[in-house]
C-alpha cells in the first residue's frame, strides 16, 4: 500500500491557484462571445448565423445574451466578420433577493455543501462539474463538498434543461433542503434551454421552476467558470452581467 502514498506525494501539487492567481493554462476554457461593434449589414448577417438567437442586433453592433450561447462557433468560423471572443471564464451572474432564506451569512463563504441535480443534461456539464474534484481544481480547498442528500446541502447546483420526468425529483430535492439555500443553474440548457428549446419534454431552463440565484453560462462552462459561480454564490466573488452590450461610441469633440 505504501506505493500509493509515494506515488501521490511524488505527483506534487497540481492545484490551480485560482482565484489568487488567474489560471492561464491552455485548454482550460473555451471562452465566450463578446459584444462587438460592426456595421449594421454585417451585424444582421452575423446574428442570423446564431442557432439559438444569442446574438441581437444593436445600435452599432451586436449584443450578446450569454445565457443562450451554445459554443457552436458559427459566429467565429466561416464568416468574414467574426464576433470578438473573450478567453476568460469568470462569467457567473447572481441575482440578489431579499428573501432571508436565500441569503448566506459569512460562515458559508468557506464551507458549502452542494447537491448536484441533473435535470436533463447532455452529460458535458455534469462531466465538468465532476472535474471540480480533480487535483487541478480541487474545490475542497474552498470548503466546497458534494453531498448526495439534500438534507445536508446548502447549494443546489442544477444542470440540464428541465425534463418532464425530472420535475418531481427536482422539486422534492429543493423542498428537502433546509434554509438558507441558494440555487446555481449551470450551463446554457439550464439557463435558457440551449439548443433544445421548449418541446413536449423540455421546459427550456429552470428559471420558471425554481428561484435561481446564480447563473453560469456556457456549453458546457469549464470547471473554472463553475468554480467562479460557486464563489459568487457564497459571496467571495462579485457577479458579472450576462447581457454583454455594445459600448456606445464617445462623441468626438470638434
Amino acid at each position: 500500500m505504501s506505493q500509493w502514498v509515494i506515488k501521490g506525494l511524488a505527483s506534487g501539487i497540481k492545484s490551480s491557484r485560482y482565484p489568487d492567481v488567474m489560471e492561464a493554462a491552455p485548454g482550460t476554457a473555451p471562452g465566450l462571445p463578446y459584444a462587438t461593434r460592426m456595421a449594421s449589414h454585417l451585424a444582421e448577417a452575423l446574428t442570423a448565423r446564431c442557432p439559438t438567437a444569442a446574438l441581437e442586433q444593436a445600435a452599432g453592433g451586436v449584443d450578446v445574451n450569454l445565457r443562450r450561447c451554445i459554443h457552436c462557433f458559427r459566429c467565429v468560423r466561416g464568416t468574414d466578420a467574426p464576433i470578438s471572443w473573450d478567453a476568460g471564464y469568470e462569467t457567473a451572474a447572481s441575482a440578489e433577493s431579499n428573501d432571508p432564506s436565500r441569503r448566506f451569512g459569512a460562515s458559508f463563504s468557506s464551507s458549502a455543501h452542494i447537491l448536484v441535480v441533473d435535470a436533463g443534461d447532455c452529460g458535458a456539464c455534469l462531466s465538468e462539474v465532476r472535474q471540480l474534484n480533480n487535483p487541478y481544481y480541487n474545490m475542497h480547498r474552498f470548503g466546497f463538498f458534494f453531498t448526495p442528500t439534500p438534507r445536508h446541502a446548502d447549494l443546489l447546483l442544477v444542470v440540464g434543461t428541465l425534463t418532464e420526468h425530472m420535475r418531481v425529483p427536482l422539486r422534492k430535492a429543493y423542498e428537502a433542503m433546509p434554509t438558507p439555500k441558494r440555487v446555481v443553474a449551470v450551463g446554457s440548457c439550464a439557463l435558457s434551454g440551449g439548443v433544445f428549446g421548449r418541446n413536449f419534454m423540455c421546459a427550456g431552463g429552470i428559471a420558471e421552476f425554481l428561484p435561481v440565484d446564480v447563473e453560469v453560462p456556457g456549453n458546457p462552462p469549464p470547471p473554472l467558470a463553475i468554480l467562479h459561480g460557486l464563489l459568487v454564490a457564497v459571496g467571495r466573488k462579485s457577479s458579472v452581467s450576462l447581457q454583454r452590450r455594445v459600448e456606445p461610441v464617445a462623441m468626438r469633440r470638434e
Binding site: T149, V168, P169, K172, E175
Partner: protein, 712 residues
C-alpha cells in the same frame, strides 16, 4: 400464615367451579377478579415470609411406604412465590381482557378451570417439602399446562406442539423422579431427610443426580437439548395464558434446579457446575440466534426466553463452582446475579408478552414483516414494549442492566480460581454470554423498530385500535417495576439474601455487594474510615437523609492491592441521566427552538414520487446479516424457482422459499426419533405371528425371572 394459604387455595377452588354457574362472558370477569385477588394474597403470603421472616411448616397426610407429605416455605420458596405473584397479578387482569377474543369459539369456563388449577399448583410446588408431593404436583402442573397450551384445540398444529411439550415433560418428570429416588437412597423422601442423606453420596452418584436433575428440570426451564418444545408451545399457547407460561412456569424449572442441585445436593465438586455453565451458555447463544431471525413476535420472545434461561443457568453453574471450591462470598454474588436475573426476566418477559398480545388482539397479526407503524395506532403499547425491549437488552436505567452486569462480573470473578481449565471454561462461556447480550440488542431493535416504527406494511397494521385498559394497566404496572428494579438494586439484593444465605453456608450477597456508605446504616462501622471518606467525596452518601438502607452503590470490595473489584450505581446514574436530559431539553427550548420554528417535511426518498411500505426494510432483511454470519448453525436450504413468461430472458416471477431446520431438531430430535423408530422396527421383527414362538417367549421370560430370583 396458614389462613393466607387457605385463602389463596380457596380462591383458586372457587375460580375453578364458579364460572360454570355463570354465563360465558361473565366468566372472564371472574378470572380477572379472583385471579387478581388470589395473586394479591399470594404476594402477602410470600412477602411475609420473604421480608418478614415468618416460617411456615405443615405436615399433610402420611402415606406409609413413602413418608409424610409436607408443605414448608423457606425463603427460597418465598422468593419464587413472590415472583409468581408479581406475574400472576397483572396476568389475570390481562387474561380477562383478552379472553373476550375467545367468546363463542372456545369455552371460557373451561379456561378458567384450568387456569386456577394451574395457579394452585404454581403456589404449591415451591411449598412442597418432600419428594412425593413434589412429583405429584409437578405431574399435575405438566398436565394443566398441556391443557392450557392446547386450549385452541381445533388447530391441529397447536395440539401437536402441546403434545410434544407433554411428551418431553414426561421424560423430564421421569428424570426428576429418578433423581429423587437416588437422592433418598433408603431413607425418607422429605427434604430434610434428603439433605442429610445426600451428604454421603459417592462422586459418581452425585454426577448422576446432578445431570438427571439438570436435564429433567431443564425441560421446563428451557435448556438445550431438551427445549425443542418451547418455541412451538409458546407460539401455540393462547394469548391470555402465554404470559403466565413464560413468566411463572419457566421459573419452576429453575426452582427445581436450584432446589435439587444447590440445596438438597450441596455442591462439593466443580465439575457439575462447569457443565451447567457450558450448557447455559450454549442455550443462551442458540436462543438468541434463533430469536434474531424470527418473524413471528411470539416465537421471537419464546427463543428469547430460552436465552434468558440459559443465562440464569450459566450463572447458577458459576455459583455451584464457587461454592464447591470454597469461595462463599463470590458464590453469593453469583446467586444474587442469577436470582436477580430471574426476577427481572419474569417482569420484562411478561411485559413483552402483554404488549405482543395487545398488538395481536387489536391489529390481528404478529408477523413483523406485516406490521409497521403501530406506534401511531397504539402509542401506549409501543411505549411499554420499548421499556420491555430496553430492559431485556440490558440498558440502564432499567432492570436488565443490573442483572446482566452482575452476571458478566460473576464470570470475570474466575480470576480468583486457580485451576487453568476452569478459568478457561469461565472465560469462553463469559465471552459467549457477552455475545448473546449484543445479539439481544440486535434482536430487540429489530422487534421494536420493525413492528412499531416506520410505515405500516399491511392494511391491518394501519387500522389497529388502541389497547384496552385491561392490557395497558398491567403493562404500566410491570413497566414501573422494570424501572424500579433497575434504579434500586441495593434494596433488592438484601431481599434476595434470604434465599441465598442457606445455599452459600452463610455468606451474604448484601455483605459482598452493597457496602454501607449511608451513615445511619447499622453496618456503617464495618468499613474502614479512609475508604468511606474516598467515596464520600465521590458522592456515595447522597440520599442518606431520606432513604433507608445501606447505600446506593453496588460494589464488590477486594483486598489490599485491589480495593474495588467492580462498582456501579444505577440509582445515581438514573438521576444524572434524568438531569442531563432535562437540561439539554431546556437549553434547546430556550435557545434554538425560540429562534426558528421546526418545519416538518416528507422523508427524503431519492426523489421518487411515492415511498411505498414495500420499499422499506423488513425484519427479515434487518436480521439477514446474522443469518449469514451464523450460517453454520442455521444451515438454511433455499429452493429457487424462476418462472419465465416468454422466451429465455423475460422473468415473470422469482419465487424463493427458504427452509430452515432448527439445529436441535437436526442434532437431537431427529437422531433420537430415527433411533427409536429403528429400534422399534428391530423389535417389530419379533411380531411375526407364530403362536409357538410367543409361547416360547413366555417360557424364556419365566426361566430368566427364576434365574434372577435364584442368584440375587
Amino acid at each position: 400464615m396458614e389462613p393466607l394459604l387457605l385463602v389463596i387455595l380457596g380462591l383458586c377452588a372457587i375460580g375453578m367451579v364458579l364460572p360454570f354457574v355463570f354465563q360465558e362472558h361473565r366468566a372472564r370477569l371472574i378470572v380477572g377478579w379472583l385471579g387478581a385477588g388470589a395473586a394479591l394474597a399470594l404476594l402477602c403470603f410470600s412477602g411475609a415470609c420473604l421480608f418478614g421472616g415468618s416460617r411456615f411448616e405443615v405436615g399433610l397426610w402420611t402415606i406409609p411406604p413413602f413418608g409424610e407429605l409436607r408443605l414448608s416455605a423457606d425463603k427460597l420458596s418465598a422468593l419464587f412465590l413472590f415472583v409468581s405473584g408479581i406475574v400472576l397479578l397483572p396476568s389475570s387482569v390481562f387474561a380477562s381482557g383478552t379472553l373476550a377474543d375467545y367468546l363463542g369459539r372456545y369455552s371460557i369456563r373451561v379456561f378458567s378451570a384450568w387456569y386456577f388449577g394451574l395457579f394452585a399448583t404454581l403456589v404449591l410446588i415451591p411449598l412442597s417439602g418432600d419428594g412425593l408431593s413434589f412429583l405429584m404436583l409437578w405431574e399435575l402442573m405438566s398436565i394443566l399446562v398441556y391443557l392450557l397450551v392446547s386450549y385452541e384445540h381445533e388447530v391441529a398444529e397447536y395440539v401437536r406442539s402441546a403434545y410434544l411439550m407433554l411428551a418431553l415433560g414426561e421424560a423430564g418428570t421421569l428424570f426428576i423422579a429418578l433423581a429423587f429416588i437416588i437422592l433418598a437412597g433408603r431413607g425418607a423422601l422429605d427434604f430434610g431427610a434428603i439433605r442429610a442423606s445426600s451428604a454421603g453420596l459417592s462422586v459418581n452418584l452425585r454426577w448422576v443426580v446432578f445431570l438427571l436433575a439438570l436435564l429433567g428440570f431443564g425441560v421446563k426451564a428451557g435448556l438445550v437439548p431438551v427445549n425443542v418444545w418451547l418455541p412451538q408451545a409458546y407460539t401455540s399457547a393462547p394469548l391470555p395464558f402465554v404470559p403466565v407460561l413464560a413468566g411463572a412456569t419457566l421459573n419452576l424449572g429453575l426452582y427445581g434446579i436450584v432446589r435439587v442441585d444447590a440445596d438438597l445436593l450441596a455442591p462439593v465438586m466443580a465439575g457439575p457446575g462447569l457443565v451447567a455453565i457450558v450448557l447455559g451458555s450454549v442455550t443462551a447463544l442458540l436462543g438468541i440466534l434463533y430469536a434474531t431471525t424470527q418473524s413471528d413476535l411470539k416465537t421471537l420472545l419464546a427463543h428469547s426466553s430460552i436465552e434468558n434461561a440459559g443465562i440464569i443457568t450459566a450463572v447458577l453453574g458459576a455459583a455451584f463452582v464457587f461454592v464447591a471450591l470454597g469461595h462463599p462470598a463470590v458464590a453469593a454474588i453469583a446467586f444474587a446475579a442469577a436470582f436477580y436475573h430471574l426476577v427481572n426476566h419474569s417482569v420484562y418477559k411478561t411485559l413483552l408478552f402483554f404488549a405482543v398480545g395487545a398488538v395481536d388482539s387489536r391489529v390481528g397479526t404478529r408477523n413483523i414483516d406485516r406490521l409497521g407503524g403501530v406506534i401511531k395506532v397504539m402509542p401506549l403499547t409501543a411505549a411499554f414494549f420499548l421499556v420491555g425491549a430496553l430492559s431485556i437488552s440490558a440498558l440502564p436505567p432499567f432492570n436488565g442492566f443490573v442483572s446482566e452486569w452482575l452476571a458478566l462480573q460473576t464470570m470475570l470473578q474466575s480470576a480468583i480460581l486457580t485451576t487453568t481449565g476452569i478459568r478457561i471454561t469461565f472465560a469462553i462461556c463469559g465471552a459467549i454470554l457477552a455475545l448473546t447480550a449484543a445479539l439481544a440488542v440486535t434482536c430487540f431493535v429489530k422487534a421494536f423498530a420493525m413492528s412499531f416504527l416506520g410505515m405500516p406494511r399491511s392494511d391491518r397494521a394501519a387500522g389497529g385500535r388502541r389497547a384496552s385498559r385491561s392490557a395497558t394497566l398491567p403493562m404500566a404496572f410491570l413497566a414501573a417495576l422494570c424501572l424500579l428494579l433497575g434504579v434500586m438494586p441495593t434494596y433488592v439484593i438484601p431481599v434476595l439474601d434470604g434465599a441465598i444465605e442457606p445455599l452459600t453456608h452463610g455468606a451474604q450477597a448484601a455483605q459482598a455487594l452493597v457496602p454501607p456508605f449511608f451513615e445511619n446504616s447499622p453496618a456503617h462501622h464495618e468499613l474502614p474510615a479512609a475508604f468511606v471518606a474516598d467515596f464520600h467525596t465521590l458522592g456515595a452518601q447522597v440520599g442518606q437523609s431520606f432513604l433507608p438502607g445501606r447505600g446506593l452503590v453496588v460494589m464488590h470490595r477486594g483486598g489490599e492491592s485491589n480495593p474495588v473489584v467492580f462498582a456501579m450505581s444505577t440509582s445515581y446514574l438514573a438521576v444524572t441521566l434524568g438531569v442531563m436530559l432535562l437540561a439539554a431539553y431546556a437549553i434547546f427550548r430556550l435557545t434554538i427552538a425560540r429562534r426558528r420554528a421546526v418545519a416538518r417535511r416528507q422523508v427524503w426518498d431519492g426523489g421518487i414520487r411515492r415511498l411505498l411500505p414495500e420499499m422499506t426494510y423488513t425484519g427479515t432483511g434487518f436480521s439477514n446479516p446474522v443469518r449469514v454470519v451464523f450460517e453454520a448453525v442455521f444451515r438454511p436450504t433455499m429452493v429457487e424457482d424462476t418462472r419465465e413468461t416468454v422466451g429465455k430472458h423475460f422473468r415473470a416471477a422469482i419465487r424463493r422459499t427458504r427452509g430452515e431446520n432448527h439445529v436441535l431438531d437436526r442434532l437431537v430430535l431427529e437422531p433420537i426419533g430415527d433411533a427409536a423408530i429403528s429400534i422399534a422396527n428391530a423389535f417389530a421383527r419379533m411380531h411375526h405371528g407364530f403362536l409357538n414362538a410367543y409361547v416360547f417367549y413366555g417360557l424364556g421370560a419365566l426361566i430368566l425371572g427364576l434365574l434372577i430370583a435364584r442368584f440375587s
